[in-house]
């Protein structure tokens, strides 16, 4: 574990735009007004050059670090890496994290009221893409008065957003850190997404997405979707270590169909827990956005997509046991970036944690992130913010599990 200071209590913030002129989406549809929920940690320096945007994964939120309440048990989802003295050092950097469009943690999504009807959008919410999510983030960065981000960093779907930023807004960032991600969602990834969505559709309580006033939510469907997801975030090795073939609360097989194995109870618990914090329709929209993600769609190749982004610096990371976004996806991306002439640092980090490694391999990631960011600080001559406050008292860290 790295030197750990906490950013302490943090304040959720909101930006609303597109109240008069609707926000145009990739699909051709439009949306408005749009609210983006966000948090910031650390301080912006005088010339506004020390800002880093953190982009979250499928089930993440703008709450990346610190606590909303003094007595909260769990810190933000990437608290291990964001804070004073940590990889994304809030003594040096101004960190921004926002909830994605179509999410359910404060940014406009299917659970929000449709201004046309006054009732929740449900499936009337327009389909959004990773590009749309990034365009909403651009509006936020504009609002914060930042011309150029020092970098955009994120894992999994967050990595897709970092790539989208680099390819489409190269003049608005100096570096991108895509972690455990891919340049295009493969058929296998689409297939896994679809299993999750089908589980939700199959739940009668889903009711074509119209369940917000019914008092009954498609929890069973969403829980199954999350269980499938959780399997893909682990590796066979980490499951073996975590659960083995151990039974939950019995010594012998019961020869019956209740959850006997530890791994079964774990998945059930995780699935159930998820229904208390996530909206099923958001799950549909956000997984759909990932399925549409393909950096080569417009240009014909990944390398061509980054042709105008070769001046950026890239830190690409993958994990040896990640079979959801396997190393060869990252290597393909690294090859394309190298062919485009970009400055790429790449490491396939040894880990047995599967896809979840991007949240768990804190020590190695801290070394890599801080080394890479330090080089950026020097080459871009980034000034430290004036009068930053010293590290808050370190608070007991709780490991964020699977915000993927």
């Amino acid at each position: 574990m790295s030197a750990n200071g906490s950013v302490g209590l943090v304040q959720p913030q909101r930006l609303t735009f597109a109240e008069n002129e609707p926000f145009q989406l990739d699909s051709g549809a439009s949306l408005g007004p749009v609210t983006v929920a966000y948090e910031t940690y650390g301080q912006l320096n005088a010339d506004r050059t020390n800002a880093i945007l953190i982009t979250h994964a499928l089930s993440g939120s703008a709450h990346a670090a610190g606590y909303h309440q003094p007595d909260e048990a769990k810190a933000g989802w990437w608290d291990d890496c964001i804070g004073p003295g940590k990889a994304f050092d809030t003594n040096k950097f101004f960190i921004i994290c926002s909830n994605v469009l179509a999410g359910c943690y404060g940014s406009t999504g299917p659970s929000d009221p449709d201004p046309a009807t006054g009732k929740p959008y449900g499936m009337h919410f327009p389909v959004v893409t990773i590009g749309d999510m990034v365009r909403a983030q651009v509006r936020l960065i504009d609002h914060l008065g930042i011309d150029s981000l020092l970098c955009v960093a994120g894992g999994s779907m967050g990595g897709m957003q970092a790539l989208e930023w680099a390819a489409h807004y190269p003049y608005r960032l100096k570096a991108a850190i895509p972690i455990a991600t891919t340049a295009h969602h493969s058929p296998m990834l689409i297939a896994l997404s679809e299993v999750g969505r089908q589980a939700i559709y199959a739940d009668p309580a889903w009711n074509n997405g119209d369940y917000y006033d019914a008092g009954l939510k498609p929890d069973a469907g969403l829980a199954v979707a999350r269980m499938v997801g959780h399997i893909t975030y682990l590796s066979e090795e980490s499951m073996q270590q975590k659960f083995g073939r151990r039974l939950q609360d019995q010594v012998r097989y019961g020869y019956e169909f209740r959850s006997e194995f530890q791994v079964e109870s774990y998945l059930k618990y995780k699935g159930h827990n998820f229904t208390r914090r996530f909206d099923a329709n958001s799950y549909l929209y956000v997984t759909k956005a990932m399925d549409y993600f393909d950096m080569s769609a417009e240009t014909g190749s990944v390398a061509a997509a980054f042709a105008n982004s070769a001046d950026l610096r890239y830190l690409v990371l993958s994990f040896t046991s990640d079979w959801l976004y396997p190393s060869y996806h990252s290597k393909e991306l690294v090859s394309a970036l190298t062919a485009a002439g970009a400055d790429v640092t790449y490491l396939d980090v040894q880990s047995s944690w599967g896809h979840d490694a991007f949240l768990l391999e804190v020590e190695t990631m801290t070394k890599l992130l801080s080394g890479f960011l330090e080089r950026l600080v020097q080459s871009e001559q980034v000034a430290l913010p004036a009068g930053f406050s010293p590290a808050a008292s370190p608070k007991e860290q709780s490991k964020t599990e699977a915000a993927a």
Binding site: R313, V334, S335, T338, A339, G341, D343, V344, T345, Y346, L347, D348, V349, Q350, T364, K367, L368, G371, F372, E374, R375, Q378
Partner: protein, 217 residues
């Protein structure tokens, strides 16, 4: 990888104006062949000592390729741009002539396809700088003659049966090989332990380590 072996001499301070960079004498010989401000790719860059020296003291635009996680972490800590990669897979990602110099330091004996890697180096770079331990050194010859054993060359930690496996060759072998491949020798520096030989006479007998700069003829 091979940069992890025992140093050939006590490191001496480099020319950097900032914090002193300590560099082995064979690495300094390579650095002397690199023009200031040029674009450099260091293959098998190990912990990044040479590349950091080149970036700081010669203001090169440096890129590295390294196989080990340990080496990678050291390089990133030094603020270098390094890619994890396996040289046996070639340099296919790199466009033609994208570097001025491509360096292969003390790694050639470990590679399965030397012709491929040298050709790739001279495809992506206009010059290749190659250093290697010389099995033609007189003590190696004597050991073979007297003891009848494959000599353990100076500067190489691994023995013949250890991983990574090496293939012994001499300065004369290397010169023949370059001729055969159609590569010309631009510069050469020969070291006897850490000391540079002042003349090229009997270099294959006298050198423990050789450094060559090559180009396509």
């Amino acid at each position: 990888m091979s940069d992890e072996t025992e140093p050939s001499a006590p490191p001496r301070p480099g020319l950097s104006s900032g914090s002193p960079v300590l560099l082995r004498s064979d690495l300094l010989a390579i650095a002397d062949m690199v023009p200031a401000g040029s674009r450099v790719l260091d293959l098998g860059c190990g912990d990044g000592a040479l590349l950091e020296y080149l970036v700081r003291s010669k203001q090169v635009t440096g890129r590295g390729v390294e196989r080990s996680e340990e080496g990678m972490l050291a390089c990133v800590r030094r603020g270098l741009s390094v890619r994890q990669g396996n040289l046996e897979e070639g340099l296919a990602d790199y466009p033609d002539a994208s570097f001025d110099s491509v360096i292969l330091s003390q790694t050639l004996p470990f590679l399965n396809d030397p012709a491929m890697i040298l050709s790739e180096m001279l495809r992506v770079g206009s010059r290749a700088i190659v250093s290697f331990p010389n099995w033609g050194f007189w003590r190696c010859r004597l050991e073979m003659l007297v003891a009848g054993r494959i000599p353990q060359v100076f500067d190489l930690a691994e023995r013949w049966h250890e991983a990574p496996r090496w293939q012994a060759f001499t300065v004369a072998d290397f010169c023949d090989f370059c001729h055969h491949l159609g590569f010309g020798i631009l510069e050469e520096i020969h070291l006897s332990r850490s000391r540079r030989l002042s003349s090229l006479r009997y270099k294959n007998l006298r050198a423990t380590t050789a450094v060559f700069a090559l180009q396509r003829l």
